[in-house]
C-alpha cells in the first residue's frame, strides 16, 4: 500500500508546500489505488483523471512559483454526485438525471477549485440522497470495506467508502436526516453536519430544502476543520444562508476539554432506542474518557427520539415529493424501487400534517436549545448498531431508523460523527458530538481531544 493512501490533509499540505511531495505524484498514486479497488467497492460513479492530472500539474507549477493558496492546495477530493461540477454530469445516482450535465459549479465546488484542491471524480450516493442501498440503478451501490461486503450507510455512501479506502483524503456529502454522519459512523471516518446555513447549498440537488446541509467528510478531525474552513461562508443566493463571522476552525483544536461542560444524552440510546451493547459500552467509555481528561460530564435529557423522527420524516416526505412530483408523474419507472417508494410517501401526507410537523419542529428546536443552555457540547449515539451485509435488505432497512442524527437536522445545530472503536468482529462503532449553532469550533475541540486519546482514526480496513 502506498504511504500516500492514508496521508492526512494536514500532513500532505506541509509536504506539498515544502516541495517534498509532488501533487502529480500524489494524484497518480491515488488514481492508481482507485483503479485497483473501485471495481470491488464502487465508491465512484465516475473518476476524472484528465481533470485531476491537469489540476495537479497546475498546482505543482503554482506551488513551485511560491503561490501556495492554503492547506487545500494540491489536495485531492471527490464530490457526492448530487453536487455540481461544471461540465460533468450530476446524476444523483439515478436514471432520471443520467444525462444531466452541470453548466456551472456548485458554490462549494467553486470554493474548492479556488482553494487549489484537485477534483478526482463523482461519488456514489443513494438515489437522490433518499433511496438505498439499491441494486436496480444504473450504477451499483458503494460497498463498505469494513466487514468486506457491508452496508456503508448513506446517503453519502461513496464519500464514506472512498475515505475509508484511502482513495481521497477529502470528500463532500450532504445531510438531510443524517446522510453525512451515517456513512461516517459505518465507515469509521469523521463527518460534520455544520449549522444550517453555514455552507451554501446552491448547485446541490435538494432532498428537503429546510433540512438540507452540505458537510465535510475526512479521516480525522483536524482535516475536517481544514475542509470546513474552505466551505463555510455566506451565499446571498442561497435563501437559507447565514451571515455570520467565520472563525479559524483549527485554531483551538489543541485546547483540550479541561473545564468544559458536556451533556450526555444517554436516553437516546438506552431508553428511546435499545442500542447494540458494544455501541452502548463505547459511548459510556467515551463519556468516562472525556471526564478523565477534565470535562464535566452530566446527563442531558431532551425530547424522546420519536418526536424528532416524526417531524423529520413528515417534512422530508413532503418537501421531497414537491421536488420530484413532475418527474414522478412523467417517468415513474426511471426511479429505483426504494427512492420511488420514499418519494411517493409524500403524496399521501396532508397539508395539515405537514404544518403540524413544522410546528413540532419549532417546539423541539426551542426545547433543545434551552436544554443546551448549561452545556458546551452534547455527546450521544449516531448509529445504534454496527453495519450489516449490504445484500441483506431487511437488515439494512432495520438499521435505517435506528439512529440519533435527525434531532440536529430539526434544530440545525452542528453535529459531528466520528469513530469510537470497533466491535469484537472488527466493525466500526461511533459517537456523535453536538454544539450550539455556529459553534463548530467547540465541537472540533472536543472531538480532537477524544481522537488524540483513542487514535481510532488511525485504523484502516485490513488487507487492502
Amino acid at each position: 500500500m502506498s504511504d500516500l493512501a492514508y496521508l492526512s490533509i494536514a500532513k500532505a499540505a506541509q509536504r506539498l508546500r515544502a516541495g517534498k511531495l509532488s501533487p502529480v505524484a500524489y494524484v497518480e498514486a491515488l488514481l492508481d489505488r482507485i483503479g485497483r479497488l473501485d471495481a470491488r467497492f464502487h465508491a465512484f460513479i465516475r473518476t476524472t483523471p484528465d481533470l485531476a492530472m491537469a489540476a495537479a500539474r497546475q498546482a505543482e507549477r503554482d506551488i513551485a512559483a511560491g503561490n501556495w493558496r492554503g492547506p487545500l492546495h494540491g489536495i485531492p477530493f471527490a464530490l457526492k454526485d448530487i453536487i455540481d461540477w461544471s461540465g460533468l454530469p450530476t446524476t444523483a445516482h439515478s436514471k432520471v438525471l443520467a444525462d444531466n450535465v452541470a453548466v456551472s459549479d456548485a458554490v462549494v465546488s467553486q470554493r474548492l477549485r479556488d482553494a487549489g484542491a484537485i477534483m478526482m471524480g463523482k461519488l456514489a450516493t443513494h438515489e437522490f440522497a433518499i433511496g438505498g442501498p439499491s441494486f436496480d440503478l444504473p450504477w451499483p451501490p458503494a460497498v463498505n470495506p469494513w466487514g468486506g461486503n457491508h452496508f456503508p450507510g448513506g446517503s453519502s455512501s461513496g464519500s464514506g467508502v472512498a475515505l475509508a479506502l484511502g482513495m481521497v483524503p477529502a470528500a463532500l456529502g450532504t445531510d438531510t436526516g443524517g446522510s453525512v454522519r451515517n456513512p461516517a459512523s459505518m465507515c469509521s471516518i469523521v463527518g460534520m453536519k455544520p449549522t444550517y446555513g453555514l455552507v451554501s447549498r446552491r448547485g446541490v440537488f435538494p432532498l428537503a430544502n429546510s433540512l438540507d446541509h452540505v458537510g465535510p467528510m475526512t479521516r480525522d478531525v483536524r482535516d475536517n476543520a481544514l475542509l470546513l474552513q474552505v466551505l463555510a461562508g455566506h451565499d446571498g443566493d442561497d435563501p437559507g444562508s447565514a451571515q455570520v463571522p467565520i472563525p479559524d476552525y483549527a485554531a483551538g483544536l489543541e485546547a483540550g476539554v479541561e473545564g468544559l461542560r458536556i451533556g450526555l444524552v444517554r436516553h437516546f440510546y438506552t431508553e428511546d432506542c435499545d442500542a447494540h451493547p458494544e455501541q452502548i459500552a463505547a459511548l459510556d467509555q467515551a463519556a468516562e474518557l472525556l471526564r478523565s481528561l477534565g470535562a464535566g460530564v452530566r446527563d442531558l435529557r431532551l425530547a424522546p427520539l420519536e418526536q424528532y423522527a416524526t417531524a423529520t420524516r413528515i417534512i422530508i416526505r413532503c418537501e421531497a415529493f414537491a421536488i420530484h412530483r413532475q418527474w414522478l408523474a412523467m417517468r415513474p419507472d426511471d426511479y429505483g424501487d426504494l427512492a420511488r417508494q420514499r418519494i411517493l410517501d409524500g403524496a399521501t401526507v396532508s397539508a395539515a400534517d405537514y404544518i403540524d410537523a413544522l410546528r413540532l419542529r419549532a417546539r423541539l428546536t426551542r426545547q433543545t436549545l434551552a436544554a443546551f443552555a448549561d452545556i458546551d457540547v452534547a455527546l450521544t449515539a449516531s448509529n445504534m448498531d454496527p453495519t450489516c451485509p449490504i445484500e441483506d435488505a431487511e437488515a439494512c432497512a432495520r438499521l435505517y431508523p435506528r439512529q440519533a442524527r435527525q434531532p440536529f437536522n430539526i434544530t440545525g445545530q452542528p453535529a459531528l460523527a466520528m469513530p469510537a472503536g470497533f466491535t469484537r468482529d472488527g466493525l466500526p462503532l461511533s459517537l456523535q458530538l453536538i454544539g450550539h449553532p455556529f459553534q463548530e469550533a467547540m465541537v472540533y475541540r472536543v472531538a480532537e481531544a477524544y481522537e488524540r486519546a483513542t487514535a481510532w482514526s488511525e485504523r484502516h480496513p485490513p488487507g487492502l
Binding site: 450530476t90 443566493d237 419507472d333 410546528r359 413540532l360
Partner: protein, 70 residues
C-alpha cells in the same frame, strides 16, 4: 383502499401514470402516512411556527443557477 380509489388518489396528487406496482407502493405510503400522523402530538397550537427571515434582494452574483435536465 380499492385500486380505483388509489388511481383517484394518485390522479389528485398529479400522478396519472402509475402502474399497478406503483399503486401498491402508494398503498403502503398511505398506511405509513397515517401511522406517522398518529405520532404527531395532539396539543400543537397555531401559535407554534418556525420563524421566517426575509431579506432585501441582493445584486445578482456572477454564478448562473443550474437547472437539472431530467
Amino acid at each position: 383502499m380499492s385500486k380505483a380509489e388509489l388511481v383517484q388518489l394518485a390522479a389528485a396528487a398529479g400522478l396519472p401514470r402509475l402502474s399497478d406496482k406503483h399503486l401498491d407502493q402508494l398503498q403502503k405510503s398511505l398506511a405509513s402516512a397515517r401511522e406517522l400522523a398518529d405520532k404527531l402530538p395532539k396539543d400543537l397550537h397555531w401559535s407554534e411556527e418556525l420563524s421566517l427571515t426575509f431579506r432585501l434582494p441582493r445584486p445578482a452574483v456572477d454564478m448562473p443557477k443550474s437547472e437539472p435536465q431530467g
